[in-house]
């Protein structure tokens, strides 16, 4: 059994974070350079944390698998970042953001964390603006806002359709300022292979240099995993091609609990799949639903062109089913409804796709205004599909997008292994069973700039001058096990490529552990995953050598971890015998297809413990409390 203590501070929810800050232990400025901290990942969470810690004076070692830290997957985020600044004077505030996030997450998040997130969010915008992030401005020079799904206020800040890129560059520049100052050291093209625990505390990492194949170690006083989400377990997703679960999973195998792996968000507005050669799906920002109207023809098999279908023969299913939120319902609701109408045979051209139509918006507001808002998204769409959304409606369908599950962390963002932290999408985070739009960037930066740099001191203080070096025999042993593992992969002499097996895994997951799940399907999927694991061991081939750049080897290593994770996701989805947020069990729904939660049995976090190769995982639960916002049924009607 895992021992889980969330360490939530005492007191009223509004006071917890402030109280905690007043009591957290500190490390003095002259002592900080004596500490080594490894930050794995340079996305928003990792770059923000690494730059903040380095600026405090810690010695920070930062790694990413890309050739430059600036290319981390966060760069791809389009739509925006939330903060309850209430610039629009529309009634926003910390409580509202807390409320929206808790409700949006269908009451499966830790209340105290969500409140803190809402509380620190406004400071993030200030921080980023100070770094020179070119947020969109009104003509008078003030910051502009737009609205996003699942809420009734306009609190989203943005930089055209490239908000993630600009926030990322702000964090990247801050990080490289610290590299120049000598406080941080960058390890690009480097992959974490293992974490090293000594006497019950995480004391370093083992990594592979992707250019030379060398296996090396870094000894540290704390390790921070900011390695992003595991959406690519589905093979096709909106995530970047190389996103993977390896870092989190290897830490999991060394004892870190993995929480709520089955919570995966399927984003409603993506470009539909066009062929089986595809490995990457393209997201069309949710902000499009501000002006676009979602519809399908009322008549199944209607082959007329969209402009030939008269108004009364169109089914604006979101507007009809959810009059108060309309096209701006949360993502899980929008995605599930797209699935339903396609299941009913109403998909456009008989395929699994629906229209997102801008004709009315262009008529009412003019092509210029719409072009200014979404021009780059429209261009991107046209480039891929050859259709211009200015002239014909977009065709969209849901795709895997974000993982709410991840490494379990306490209030300090520390895993159950002392000294090992997880931030950003890599932790099980504050989004419960469903994340609202524009709130991941917020959470990544909250973790990286605001929270971790305060909370990490607490555990560092306790180990003052108790240094470990890579001479400790544990490092040699861990390095050897990594080398053996890689040699094992290189020795596979089958005929199937890692990518081919990964693709098959993706299909299994999409069909059985995607937008709708059943006990039967999940059980079947676990069987299929077992045989894919077998295929991976016996039919796979890894070409080339291990002592040079070898992308097939990288892929093979990640695939092994994805397979293990996939199995656990199905098990978690099976045992969570309720529906909540994105986790939709067909057995638990209302007559009109809404989720039915079972708070009594599942108002908790499911945390899984690795029990060794071949042994089933063991589950521990962390009970959730709902004091500040009592449980209610989520309704967007």
């Amino acid at each position: 059994m895992l021992e889980l203590d969330a360490s939530i501070p005492e007191g009223d929810i509004r006071e917890k974070w402030r109280n905690h800050l007043e009591h957290v232990k500190l490390v003095g400025p002259r002592n900080r350079p004596k500490y080594d901290i490894v930050v794995v990942g340079t996305g928003l969470a990792g770059a923000a944390a690494a730059s903040s810690l380095a600026a405090q004076g810690y010695r920070v070692h930062v790694m990413c698998f890309q050739d430059s830290s600036r290319r981390a997957h966060s760069i791809a985020a389009q739509g925006g970042i939330n903060a309850p600044k209430n610039y629009r004077n529309d009634g926003d505030g910390v409580y509202r953001l807390f409320y929206d996030t808790q409700k949006g997450g269908d009451f499966r998040a830790r209340e105290a964390n969500v409140w803190r997130l809402a509380e620190v969010a406004t400071g993030i915008i200030d921080q980023c603006a100070a770094q020179g992030v070119p947020f969109a401005r009104e003509y008078g020079g003030q910051l502009a806002n737009r609205s996003f799904g699942g809420v009734l206020v306009e609190r989203t800040f943005y930089c055209r359709g490239q908000t993630g890129q600009q926030l990322m560059l702000g964090a990247y520049q801050a990080l490289h300022q610290q590299v120049a100052a000598g406080n941080a050291v960058m390890y690009p093209r480097t992959e974490l292979q293992d974490v090293v625990n000594i006497d019950g505390r995480c004391r370093g990492v083992v990594y592979r240099c992707l250019q030379t194949g060398e296996i090396r170690s870094i000894a540290a006083d704390a390790v921070v995993l900011a390695t992003g989400g595991y959406g690519n377990v589905f093979f096709q997703s909106t995530n970047a091609f190389n996103c993977n679960v390896t870092a989190a999973w290897r830490a999991h195998k060394r004892g870190a609990g993995f929480a709520n792996p089955c919570y995966v968000q399927i984003h409603p507005t993506c470009i539909p799949v066009s062929g089986d050669f595809q490995c990457k799906l393209t997201l069309m920002s949710e902000s499009l639903r501000n002006d676009g109207r979602v519809w399908v023809p009322k008549k199944p098999g209607d082959t007329r062109r969209p402009e030939q279908i008269p108004e009364d023969e169109r089914y604006y299913y979101l507007e009809e089913r959810y009059p108060s939120f309309g096209n701006l319902v949360p993502r899980d609701v929008a995605a599930r409804n797209a699935k339903y109408v396609c299941d009913e045979g109403l998909g456009v051209d008989g395929k699994r796709q629906v229209y997102l139509d801008f004709a009315d918006a262009i008529r009412d507001r003019g092509e210029n205004v719409i072009g200014e808002r979404y021009g780059n998204l429209f261009d991107m769409y046209e480039e891929i599909t050859t259709d211009s959304p200015y002239k014909v409606p977009m065709r969209i369908f849901p795709a895997v997008h974000y993982c709410m599950g991840g490494l379990w962390v306490d209030y300090n963002l520390m895993t159950n292994i002392p000294g090992l932290y997880a931030i950003g999408e890599a932790n099980f985070s504050d989004h419960g069973a469903n994340r609202l739009g524009a709130s991941s960037l917020m959470q990544c930066l909250a973790d990286g700039y605001m929270i971790l740099p305060q909370t990490i001191n607490d555990s560092l203080h306790d180990i003052y001058m108790d240094k470990v070096t890579t001479d400790h025999p544990a490092f040699a042993a861990h390095e050897q096990s990594v080398r053996d593992h890689i040699a094992g992969l290189m020795a596979r002499r089958g005929s199937r490529s890692p990518m081919a097996i990964h693709k098959e895994l993706g299909e299994v997951m999409w069909h059985h552990c995607g937008m709708a799940r059943t006990a039967e399907g999940l059980t079947e999927a676990m069987g299929k995953i077992d045989s894919l694991k077998h295929a991976c061991e016996h039919d796979m081939v890894v070409p080339g050598r291990a002592d040079t750049t070898n992308q097939a080897l990288e892929r093979a290593g990640r695939l092994g971890d994805f397979l293990d994770l996939a199995h656990l996701m199905c098990r978690d989805a099976l045992e969570r015998d309720e529906s909540c947020g994105c986790h939709f069990r067909e057995e638990h729904q209302t007559d009109d297809g809404e989720v039915v939660r079972n708070d009594e049995a599942f108002g908790n976090v499911a945390v899984w413990e690795w029990k060794g190769e071949g042994s089933p995982h063991e589950k521990t639960t962390e009970a959730l409390s709902f004091d500040a916002l009592p449980l209610m049924t989520r309704s967007y009607k």
């Binding site: 603006a129 070119p134 008078g140 930089c159 066009s274 991107m380 700039y449």
Partner: protein, 258 residues
């Protein structure tokens, strides 16, 4: 459709390289260029050969990882697009396609089509930031940024650091990349205190890394997937000159007597 590929193969930075010819049938027009390379790699693996190494990540034109010269053009035949955004419908059945890495002395080849662009990170380290620590900051609306200035800064900030400008330039200059950052930060009020120092040290670093000088070919702007304008190079040159001539921000202290 069917295409004939001539792909640059090179084992490592020190090894000599050359083109390797492959035929690929079953190419679909909707495939992206990189999905076509994936298909080639699957074919190579199943025939027991080494797959082609190339950089890519986001595959939607924003991370700047992908970096191929296709038929002599960095990022290939598209207009304002990256290699990963090129679709095979840009080619015809039976076409021969030549694929090479971005070439420049400052970007050594790592393997095949993959190059080392860490020189760009070092240019940023020379001053491509606004010095600030994390923590409480002033309210951003307290410092107004006119819409047009914010948009102009954003035009410059769009640079994805891909290096196509360098690969396209006959002098292998990194002017467009450097100018984009100097301009992004130099346009905003927050960037003013370090503006002159930034322009000087980034330009000096650029030279030190072995990038060439600008002689106004403007090839960079043509190749740039984000349409970063060469007018930013003019802007950077002005900032650089001004900084070099009058060092407006440098504290001079009292004149020495001798």
């Amino acid at each position: 459709m069917r295409v004939i590929l001539h792909v640059w193969r090179q084992d490592g930075p020190e090894a000599s390289g050359g083109f390797e010819r492959h035929e690929l049938s079953a190419v679909e027009p909707d495939m992206s260029f990189l999905e076509m390379l994936d298909t080639l790699n699957e074919q190579l693996i199943s025939n027991g050969h080494d797959p082609v190494t190339f950089d890519s990540d986001c595959r939607e034109g924003i991370c700047g990882a992908c970096s191929c010269v296709i038929n002599g053009r960095p990022h290939g035949p598209g207009h304002k697009s990256t290699t990963c955004q090129i679709r095979m419908r840009a080619f015809c059945d039976g076409d021969e396609i030549w694929i090479e890495p971005f070439r420049s002395g400052a970007f050594p080849v790592v393997k095949d089509l993959m190059v080392d662009r860490t020189a760009f990170d070092r240019i940023i380290e020379a001053g491509g930031y606004i010095s600030t620590h994390s923590g409480p900051k002033p309210e951003p609306n307290a410092s107004l940024v006119p819409h047009s200035i914010a948009e102009e800064a954003m035009d410059a900030a769009e640079c994805i650091g891909c290096g196509a400008c360098v690969a396209a330039c006959p002098n292998a200059a990194a002017m467009l990349f450097t100018a984009a950052k100097v301009s992004h930060l130099g346009l905003l009020p927050q960037g003013q205190p370090e503006r002159w120092k930034r322009a000087r040290s980034m330009v000096e670093k650029m030279d030190e890394e072995g990038f060439g000088a600008c002689t106004n070919f403007a090839e960079c702007q043509d190749a740039c997937p984000k349409g970063v304008s060469i007018r930013f190079i003019g802007r950077m040159n002005r900032d650089y000159m001004k900084a070099a001539l009058c060092e407006p921000e440098t504290r001079q202290g009292p004149l020495k007597a001798h």
